[in-house]
């Protein structure tokens, strides 16, 4: 229950920040993809199942605020959360900046995947060059934000988990 609340709060916060603060904070014309970031961080911290759920919830939330066909972001983020969670289990490295690389790669791949699905549905309004540009820039932006977001989410997740373990 606590984790559901936490997830909801994180997603809502990410959505609000994405549409307010970061809508103005452009980096070379691109915004960060905060929900991608949150999904990937959740997947790294909690594993593929939590990553998929977080991605699905966040994607749906974002989709319903968009004028595009709903569900594309949900699909993208579900797969992204799952994939990132699986990938994390197979990577054995003590490197503290691993999340940064995972976030960058995951965001880039996720944005491109989203673009491909949109294209298949005939909803891609922009050129492929622009899509690649946005994918790279938002990946970079997310990577920059990771050191700020990751510790906060890890503390929140660990807090909710440890309490649950105690009760067990």
């Amino acid at each position: 229950m606590r984790r559901t609340l936490l997830l909801g709060a994180v997603i809502l916060t990410a959505l609000l920040l994405q549409t307010t603060v970061f809508a103005e904070l452009n980096l070379l014309g691109a915004k960060p993809e905060l929900l991608y970031l949150v999904t990937i961080v959740f997947a790294i911290l909690e594993g593929p199942a939590s990553g998929a759920i977080a991605g699905f919830a966040g994607g749906m939330a974002q989709d319903f605020l968009l004028d595009a066909p709903k569900g594309i972001t949900a699909l993208t983020l579900t797969l992204l959360g799952y994939t990132m969670g699986m990938a994390r289990q197979y990577i054995v490295t003590p490197s503290p900046i691993l999340p940064v690389f995972l976030v960058a790669g995951g965001t880039c791949a996720g944005v491109v995947f989203h673009g491909v699905v949109s294209f298949l549905l005939g909803e891609l309004d922009t050129s492929w060059l622009y899509l690649i540009r946005v994918a790279v820039l938002s990946a970079l932006y997310n990577a920059i934000l990771t050191p700020l977001v990751y510790p906060v989410l890890r503390r929140a997740a660990e807090g909710s988990r440890s309490r649950r373990v105690h009760r067990w």
Binding site: L12, L16, T19, T20, E24, D67, A74, L75
Partner: protein, 285 residues
């Protein structure tokens, strides 16, 4: 075993979520803008927009601050561009003002040329330098023998008489001003018709010696050129009726053996810019 079942349940979860997503995509795609999903989207927007507004109100100044920071280099560049532009425009403005002044002066010179008579040939010239010596009141103009200028030609400005050419180079010439102590001009009082020799006194006002000592001279009377040169009786260098200046002081008759008045030149020689050289006039030689 437990791990495998967990993996399987995870896979099942993902498949379910992906299926829901796909169904959502399909439904929304087929229903377009009128379906229940679109209505749900509008509802979501209605719920979240007040929150967005609240967050915006709080974070807008912060966001502004950071976006300004990010855009600082481009703002600085823009600032520089604008500064450059202001400098260019200011310069253009100054040039335009100077051009207008020049135009007015040229127009006045044109009027002056017309007043000299129809057969008078003149050329306008720009003053390019002042005399080098403290004891010589001359100016240098940018026209010379190449433009038909020869020695002794009279030079006038729109305010009045300037002087005459004393030295000619190929593309410049030197004008002796009427305030030079070596300059002598035949003058005539406008009202009393009395004539006298107007000589330069350097920086001070001109001195006009009167031939006839009985003439009553009024202050502020105008002094114009007479058509001849007094001492030798030769024809004057200068065309007649060009303004020299106005009487500034009348000395009492007893004060000097030779009566004289002082004349303030009509031309301000310190700000002389454009002058007219009279190449030939129908009234002169």
């Amino acid at each position: 075993m437990a791990l495998r079942s967990r993996a399987r349940s995870t896979r099942l979860l993902v498949v379910t979520l992906v299926s829901i997503s796909l169904v959502t995509i399909t439904l929304d795609y087929r229903q377009g803008d009128d379906g229940p999903l679109a209505t749900l989207g509008e509802a979501a927007l209605t719920v979240i927009s007040p929150l967005q507004e609240a967050v915006s109100t709080v974070t807008h100044p912060i966001g502004n601050f950071f976006s300004t920071l990010l855009r600082l280099p481009s703002i600085r560049r823009e600032n520089e561009t604008l500064r450059d532009r202001v400098a260019v425009l200011e310069q253009e403005f100054a040039t335009t003002v100077a051009d207008l002044d020049r135009l007015a002066e040229l127009e006045a010179l044109l009027g002056l040329q017309a007043s000299l008579g129809r057969r008078a040939e003149t050329t306008a010239a720009q003053v390019i330098a002042n005399g080098v010596s403290n004891f010589e009141w001359t100016i240098t103009i940018d026209k010379g023998s190449g433009d038909g200028i020869a020695e002794d030609m009279p030079v006038i400005a729109n305010a009045g008489l300037v002087g005459h050419v004393v030295r000619v180079g190929p593309s410049s010439s030197v004008i002796q001003l009427i305030i030079d102590p070596d300059s002598f001009v035949a003058g005539r009082l406008d009202a009393s018709r009395a004539t006298g020799l107007v000589s330069g006194e350097g920086g001070a006002d001109l001195r006009m010696g009167l031939v006839e000592s009985t003439v009553e001279v009024a202050p502020d009377e105008k002094v114009v050129t007479a058509g001849y040169r007094i001492p030798s009786g030769e024809q004057s260098l200068y065309p007649p009726n060009v303004l020299i200046g106005t009487v500034s002081r009348v000395l009492p008759e007893e004060s000097a053996l030779e009566p004289f008045v002082t004349v303030r030149p009509a031309v301000d020689f310190s700000t002389l810019d454009l002058v007219l050289v009279v190449l030939s006039s129908d009234g002169g030689a």
